[in-house]
Symmetry: none
Subunit: 242 residues, 2 copies
DNA sequence: TTCCAACTCCCCAGAAATGGTGAGGCGCCG
DNA sequence: CGGCGCCTCACCATTTCTGGGGAGTTGGAA
């Protein structure tokens, strides 16, 4: 297993990433980086529960298929853990205690995923969330050394991967992220913290009818089917904060 | 104006950042970096819609005060522009066309802010959003050269600044999240993407009565008053992903 | 083995949310 | 000036959610 000797990958790979013009380019850069760092896998994974997945990397396609099919997205401790953090995290520091998580881990290793891993959460506009992961099979000590040396490289690589993915994926960005009006934001925020419509109306000192107009308006702007959906979207797009 | 000669700041500053234990440390690291890079200003700014501001950097306190007081947060094109992007952006590429933006720019320069700037958006869990900015007074060519050389340093520095800010700000508590059962997670997730109770029940192939038990159970575990609240909590605690 | 958490099913009645339609005032921008 | 978005208010009928009961199976943990 190699390393960048503490010196970030200035020459070559990041430039390749920056110049990538197609999805396939990202894929081949991932493979090149895997070989360069001498690890088992290197994966960029755009996380979204609504079915639209996108990723590129060196995992066995069988595993990727299985992951999606089995709904591992919902129980993968890497997802769970990274979603709540800002900084990169070593897989050992995640919570693997639940039954589902253990079964998942077993299955993953059986499909060629390394026992060691390091994942970097990445967030973009509109609540976009992605993961950049590097993993390998080795003992704890070797892995600790590897991550210590390549940590910063990984952050930069993750950054550029996401940047390119955002550029190359046209499907994601359009969604003009229609902003909510101040009143709508207030309404959504109060709903998100558990107030009923009546309580929200009282808090905002407006009639419940007026409040309804806001909620409907927000629902429309967010393309939501009901209030719960609207609040969920507003939250995950970062339009409101609880 | 200096530069890192294309080699990221491996020795010294990032370590200082990682070792910082108090807010004041971040402040002094910012000053040291400003001197090292020979720019006018270097600022980390935590942007939050609910009024709570936090920042550290080398701006004149008078300017910071004025910025807050005048509500520039709402019209600052840097905020507007970065909020919708993922990658770092040169101030020249922002939209300064509105009257308010021009007035703001004029005021900023009058308070010692450089005419050139480079800002990096940073996002964390729960919709956290921050900016890392470096700015200077010089001509376009010199600035282009500077940004080309230090771009990657800036990304890493921004990353570590935010990491430290998240650690040092007690505002975000761990919030011991009682885990949801697999069925509860499925139910919450489907509700979060807009399904009605009836639809969720059908999707999960269970009776609506059973579904209700899950929702109530999840609501109880999450300490939520209603379904919308429960979904919002599950989302912001990272228990479900949409 | 005993116990508990998770999963499944059922009834009823009251509370809350939603859909459709309509209307007036205010402020900003071209 | 006219249009557009925002804020405010109202009624009606229908659908959906919530809170109060109770009950049986399973599989893993103590």
């Amino acid at each position: 297993m190699g390393s960048a000797e503490g010196i970030p990958v200035t020459g070559g790979f990041l430039e390749q990433l920056e110049l990538a013009e197609r999805r396939e380019d990202l894929q081949s850069v991932a493979e090149a980086l895997r070989d360069r760092f001498k690890v088992d896998h290197l994966v960029y994974h755009w996380v979204s529960a609504n079915g639209e997945q996108y990723g590129c990397g060196t995992y066995d396609p069988v595993w990727v298929e299985r992951y999606l099919e089995k709904g591992y997205l919902r129980i993968d401790p890497v997802i769970q853990g990274c979603f709540q953090r800002f900084h990169p995290v070593d897989w050992k520091r995640l919570d693997w205690s639940s039954k589902a998580a253990r079964a998942f881990q077993w299955d993953a290793i059986a499909h060629g995923v390394g026992n060691q891993g390091y994942s970097i959460p990445i967030r973009g506009p509109n609540g976009q969330f992605a993961l950049f992961t590097v993993n390998h099979s080795c003992d704890d000590e070797a892995w600790a050394e590897f991550t210590a040396l390549t940590r910063r490289d990984m952050i930069l690589i993750a950054h550029y991967f996401n940047q390119k993915a955002l550029e190359l994926e046209p499907g994601r960005r359009p969604e003009p992220a229609q902003p909510l009006s101040p009143r709508e934001i207030e309404a959504m925020t109060l709903l998100a913290v558990g107030y009923s419509r009546a309580q929200v109306a009282e808090t905002l000192s407006i009639s419940e009818h007026t409040l309804r107009v806001y909620i409907e308006s927000a629902r429309f702007k967010l393309g939501a089917m009901n209030t719960t959906h609207a609040v969920a979207r507003a939250l995950s797009r970062g339009l409101i904060v609880v």
